[in-house]
């Protein structure tokens, strides 16, 4: 498990221990990865983050069109493994969690401890976030590479 | 009521938390007032659950009342707290002797003699029983650690110790059949379990039990139910009870459906105590 910000580590470790999730990705609503567990390739992380953020954005738009509140979570049940996407508010803005799990656990367990993860992240987030420097195009690739290095421990 | 009992009763009434209950219960027991002695001993034990003297006292009272299985448990508890307690070793030896297991009786008397070689009564008992005891393999124990007393079933119809009997559950009703001790990783520590068709299922069942203690603890904690004690499972083919001898182990007791669940639960509790003792002293 790797995280860009240290305060995310403990809540995420707790979630992984209880949920038995196989893969977990935490990202901002724009798809910027905050933490990951279980992925072995940076390309997979980037792809999953982009797709996950896109799915959540589409679904939120759909809910808006239907005139209802935002969906709390999306679950896709597969034969061998399933996937849950959940968007939630944090002091650092809106984040998305992508969780892949197998039959050794259940969607009920994953959701139960995902809710706990959300609460623990809210409690652990530093009070005064460090303001991010403005993102310039020439910095973007450097920032991305640095993030990927941190997420994969290289 | 005699003067000493009156005085001790008054003292205990004035100071309910004092240790006067030890003297009072013993005095009542010596006068044959075992019911009153039991109440006093129980009350004192509730206040001082970690006091070996209190467990020893209760065991003597229960032994006088003929509650030999309860006496065994109480002396076992005293030994857990104080492994060198000769009175408990002698008490358990007495119970084994009453049950006809002279070999186990001798083993416990010899341990008592190692602790107190000057106790003449122990020497005499060893000599007497030693001449009658059947051949018995010497207990192997790490130096400095007394081997645990083998638990005895209610009714004390102890089976002779045989090489096939598990050291953990030997002496319990049915031996170690239908009893399984499993560690947190799903590995069998002792006992055996067979399917209704007679196939060995111990290792397979043990593997399924990996993590069950943690999961049960999580469930009771998150639902505000405290710590978990037991899980009872009723199947048309049998009753299973899971208990927790230590935080790192799980005990499973399995019996046919003809035995009521209450009986299986009791068996599981006794087996868990035996397992705990074995884990602490092995």
């Amino acid at each position: 498990m790797r995280a860009l910000e240290p305060w995310v580590v403990q809540p995420l470790e707790n979630f992984l221990a209880e949920s038995a999730a196989r893969l977990t990705l935490l990202m901002t609503s724009s798809g910027q990865v905050v933490a990951q567990h279980g992925f072995s390739r940076s390309l997979d992380v980037m792809t999953a983050a982009a797709l996950g953020a896109g799915i959540v954005a589409s679904t939120e738009e759909l809910a808006r069109l239907m005139g209802g509140a935002r969906f709390e979570a999306l679950v896709h049940n597969g034969q061998r493994q399933s996937c849950m996407l959940g968007a939630f508010a944090t002091p650092r803005g809106r984040w998305i969690g992508l969780v892949v799990f197998g039959p050794e656990t259940s969607v009920g367990i994953v959701r139960l401890f995902f809710d706990q993860l959300v609460q623990q992240l809210a409690a652990a987030a530093p009070r005064e976030p460090t303001p991010a420097p403005p993102m310039l195009a020439e910095n973007f690739e450097t920032e991305l590479n640095a993030s990927l290095k941190a997420l994969f421990g290289r | 009521m005699t003067d000493d009992i009156r005085a001790l009763t008054a003292r205990l009434a004035d100071e309910p938390g004092s240790l006067a209950f030890l003297e009072l219960a013993e005095a009542l027991r010596r006068r044959g007032q075992t019911d009153a002695a039991y109440k006093v001993a129980r009350g004192g034990l509730a206040r001082y659950p970690g006091l070996a003297d209190a467990h020893d006292l209760l065991a003597r009272v229960l032994s006088d009342q003929g509650e030999l299985a309860g006496a065994f448990d109480a002396w076992s508890s005293a030994l857990q707290l104080d492994p060198m307690r000769t009175s408990a070793l002698k008490g358990i030896a007495f119970l084994y002797f009453r049950a006809g297991d002279k070999a186990a009786a001798l083993e416990h008397l010899q341990r008592a003699l190692e602790v107190d070689p000057d106790d003449l009564s122990i020497r005499q008992a060893v000599v007497r029983i030693g001449s009658e005891a059947r051949p018995h393999p010497p207990a192997t124990a790490p130096s400095g650690d007394p081997p645990p007393p083998a638990p005895v079933a209610r009714g004390l119809e102890a089976e002779p110790v045989s090489p096939r009997t598990s050291p953990i559950f030997g002496g319990l009703e049915g031996g170690d059949g239908g009893l399984l001790l499993v560690d947190a990783n799903g590995l069998r520590l002792g006992g055996r379990l067979e399917t209704p068709e007679g196939h060995d299922a111990g290792d397979r069942v043990a593997a399924q039990l990996a993590g069950v203690s943690r999961e049960a603890a999580r469930a009771t904690r998150l639902l505000g139910l405290g710590s978990w004690h037991a899980i009872a499972i009723e199947s048309p083919d049998g009753h299973l009870v899971l208990a927790q001898p230590t935080p790192e182990t799980v005990l499973l007791a399995a019996r046919e459906p003809s035995l009521p669940m209450g009986g299986v639960t009791l068996l599981a509790e006794r087996a868990a105590r035996a397992a705990r003792l074995w884990l602490e002293t092995s």
């Binding site: 259940s106 | 998150l222 009723e234």
Partner: protein
């Protein structure tokens, strides 16, 4: 909620000491229907009990036994009872320490058979 489900919950919650009852989809650990007193977390009860029931059913199976008809998890301050029914549904009750367990068990076994 089907009439059978409602009837099952009513029967169980009438028993003394029962703090709540729910019907759970065991494999998913999700609530199908519930009738709970304040303070009982239905989502947690469903997820945790569903998971435990599955594990214990596999334990019984590995011991060569048919699936359990009733389960009781006993804690310091109460317990959880579970009676599996058809179609992966489980009737679950959260009980206090002084609940009438015998009656709850009988009601649950009978009601669970009529779920679905």
């Amino acid at each position: 909620m089907t009439p059978a489900t409602q009837a099952a919950l009513d029967r169980v919650t009438r028993v003394a000491g029962v703090r709540g009852a729910l019907v759970v989809a065991a494999s998913d650990g999700l609530v199908v229907a519930e009738q709970l007193m304040d303070g009982v977390d239905g989502q947690a009860a469903a997820a945790l009990t569903g998971s435990l029931v599955g594990r214990l059913a596999r334990t019984a199976e590995s011991a060569g036994m048919r699936p359990p008809a009733f389960l009781h998890l006993r804690g310091d301050a109460g317990g959880v009872l579970a009676a599996p029914g058809p179609d992966d549904l489980v009737l679950v009750a959260v009980v206090g320490p002084d609940a009438n367990l015998g009656l709850a068990r009988l009601e649950m076994i009978e009601a669970a058979g009529r779920l679905g």
